[in-house]
Structure formats: structure tokens, C-alpha cells
Symmetry: C2
Subunit: 235 residues, 2 copies
Amino acid sequence: MSTHEHPPFAVAVDLAIFTIRDGALAVLLVERGEEPFAGSWALPGGFVEPDEDAEQAAWRELREETGVERFPGHLEQLRTYSAPDRDPRMRVVSVAHVALAPDLPEPQAGTDAADARWWVVDDVLDAEVDGPVLAFDHRQILLDARERVRAKLEYTTLATEFVSEPFTLPELRRVYTAVWGTPPDLGNFRRKVLGTDGFVVPTDARGEATEAGGRPALLYRRGPARTVQPPMVRS
Amino acid sequence: MSTHEHPPFAVAVDLAIFTIRDGALAVLLVERGEEPFAGSWALPGGFVEPDEDAEQAAWRELREETGVERFPGHLEQLRTYSAPDRDPRMRVVSVAHVALAPDLPEPQAGTDAADARWWVVDDVLDAEVDGPVLAFDHRQILLDARERVRAKLEYTTLATEFVSEPFTLPELRRVYTAVWGTPPDLGNFRRKVLGTDGFVVPTDARGEATEAGGRPALLYRRGPARTVQPPMVRS
DNA sequence: ACAATAGTGTCTTTTAGACAGTATTTG
DNA sequence: CAAATACTGTCTAAAAGACACTATTGT
């Protein structure tokens, strides 16, 4: 490869930050205050600085956009989007990331963002009407990010990153229900989670019953296992 | 995000091009003729041009490096490597890709490359001695690429991209043997492949017996299925 | 007691693991 | 015929699917 004539690019990170809110998978979007796409909604993101790699930039943006000092969840690279015309201002290559976390506080609007809020993902992607218009290629990024999360719940223990410790199995099951859109069978779900070594580790405590009554659930913490084999299957 | 002060990056693609040669998984490497890492071996790659995205750049490099007009296999993005010091000359972000193909001709050395040849992947990554030294972070890229291929053979029909049509089931089984390092059980392998709708489609022809004799195998073509569910498992 | 939620047990079906056997070719 | 390779069948074990049942809480 030649060391000459490599055109300059800007390199950015974009983040699909997911959480579970009110039993649904939600994503953090910011309303753009400037052209292009002023008034549209976008995934939070920013440029990679000279002394950091894409992952460090993503962690930094994660703290800035959520207003949390130490982000409590999981972050991983999704893929890179590099269509020449994806940003009309200039050539920007974006290294998209997926982040998961237990319920986070309402976000702070950033300096360039008119507003920032959680959206129900299915309302953004699947709604016939009323969904926000997403800027740039962020609709595609969000589609890919949702599919990544759906797939990873099958063969990893990632679902535990959506709940704060300690947690109950019904809580964990609600994560699957929210992400997959349909609840896994109760008994089979418990059998799979408890039968997978290191998925969850029991505590000797139990949670509280709701106002309406009902048996309090046992509390668990995340186990050391990262994969589930054979995978849990979506029907 | 600010539209000001985004430092210039070069954006490159690097390719882990895999094929099966003599029953082993092989990867194409080029010997570097220039500093840095002159004399080391590297994954083929090049810079992304102003009017193309990373995938187009990867297809272009694929044709250039293999010397093939229409590359016959599969290409997908792996992940992006962006450590600030990964290239000592300047800031280069690399969008790595994985390519698979049936046996390709011996490669042509490119303009900057002193030499180019196929290497057995395990000799490059696992050998205690004698393995080539890989330039930049290409050892890590190759490790990630091999793991991607190993994993994808489990839950996709990608193995068929390693053989040319028409092919036999014993040929296809040798692909799994090469990639996983251990042969899947004969009967169970056939049951799984033939029992997965659209994995392979039979032809009415059969192949030729070897010189040493033996029953000729039936010939198949790739089917429309892209995923295998439940997955084929490595023991 | 009843509603609500958590948790257990069990029967059936599907699939993988292991491995023995049969079939068809060349020399 | 033997050697070599391709292919089939079968028994067992593991796991998932479906679904009924028991347990513990609040009002």
C-alpha cells in the first residue's frame, strides 16, 4: 500500500445505548439543533480524538451523554459505516457501538443537542406513523444494533447487563420479553438460566412483594459465565 | 457534536482472505518491502478512496491482491482497529474484513509487496517457532478473523463458500475439519446438513472415485439457506 | 378467602452423540 | 478378492416445548 495520497477522513463514533424502560427496549436519541438534519433525532456520538481509539471515544461519549460518572453497563463495537455521502458536510466514517445498561436517569441535553430522551425502539423502527425521523444512516445503525442485541441474548449472558444487582429471575425474564417481543416460557426459562453454570449466582436474600401482593422472588447476582451453550432460542 | 476540529485520519481496509489448501485453513499474506515492518508479513490491504466505502475498497483490494477478475467467494466486515499508535507513520484506522473463497491461484506480489503467498493459519498463529512475524496489529486481526470463521460455521451455511460447485459432502466435511481442527462425526454431519432445509441441493450427478478406489460421492450445490438452526456444534 | 406473583414437576418431542453396519468403486 | 471411500441405520442421552401444579405473599 502506498504511503502517499490518502485522503483525510473524520472518524466518529455513534452509540446505540439501550436500556429497559417500562417493560420495553428503549434507546437514547438526541434531537439535532443544527443543520444538517436540524430537528431530526440522532444517535449520540462524537469525533475520535487524536490520542484515543474508538472504544475510548465511545466510553467518553457514554459518560457525557448519559451524565453518569462511571457507566454501569456493557459496551461493544457494532460495525463501521462508511458510505461516502453519509454526512453531507464532509467525509465521516463512523464506528458504531452498542451499549447496554440498567435503567439510567433521564439524560442531559448536550451542547449541540436541542433535546435528549429515551425512545421505545419499536416505536422508532417499526411504527407506521409518529416515529421520529432519524438523521444520517442512523436508522440502519439502530436496526443493526437491535438485531445484535436480540441475537446476543440467545447465546450470551448479556441480558444480566440490563438489570442492576441484585436481581430476580422474573426481572431477567422481562428483559428477554422486552428485547424479543414475546415472553419465553416461564418454566423452561428458569430451567435454562439456573441450569447454565455461572449464568446467575444465588444470594440468600429475597426481594419485596408488590403492593398487589404475590410471592417475593429470590435475588441473584451475575455469574462468571459469558456464553450460553446450547443457546436460548427465540420461537 | 462539533463540526470543528476533527483531526485528519487515514482510513484503510485490511483483509483476512481464507481458503482451504491441502486440508488446512490458509490465509493470504504479503511480505512488506518497505518500512515500517520491512520483511515482516502483513494482511493485504489499502486505503479507502474518496468515492468508495470500506466494502467497495475491500472488494477492489480483493481483486487486486488475488489477481482474480471476479472474486468467487464471500466478503464481510470484521471490525475496526483504531489504536492511536497502530501505525507508526500516521494515524490510520483500519476496517478489517474477512473473505472466504474456494481454492484460488497462487497470488501475484503487489507493487509494494516483496512477496505474497498462502500460509497455514495455525502455523502463523499457533506455532511456537518458524511462524512469520506479523506487522502492525495484524496478529490480533487474524486471531479475530479466525474466530469469526470458526463461529460462523456453527450457525451459518458459510462453509459452502469454501468449495466450488458442484461439491460433495465429504469435501464439505473437510472444510469443517480444517477450520475446527477436528472432524465432525460422519453420520451426524450428514444428518445435519441434509436435514437442514436449503443447506445443500442435490444434483443427479456423482463425482469420480479416486485412483485408490472408493465409492464416488454424490454432488450438491449451495442451497438458499443462510443459517443453520439449531447450530452445528464443535465438540 | 381471593388475587397476584413466584416457583416446581412431568410428559412428550426433538436433536445430538456414538458407533455399527451396508454399498460402491479401483486394483 | 482386499482396500478405500461413501453412505445408512439405530440405540441412547440430552435438551427443549408445553403445560399443569404448588408456594407465598398482600388485601
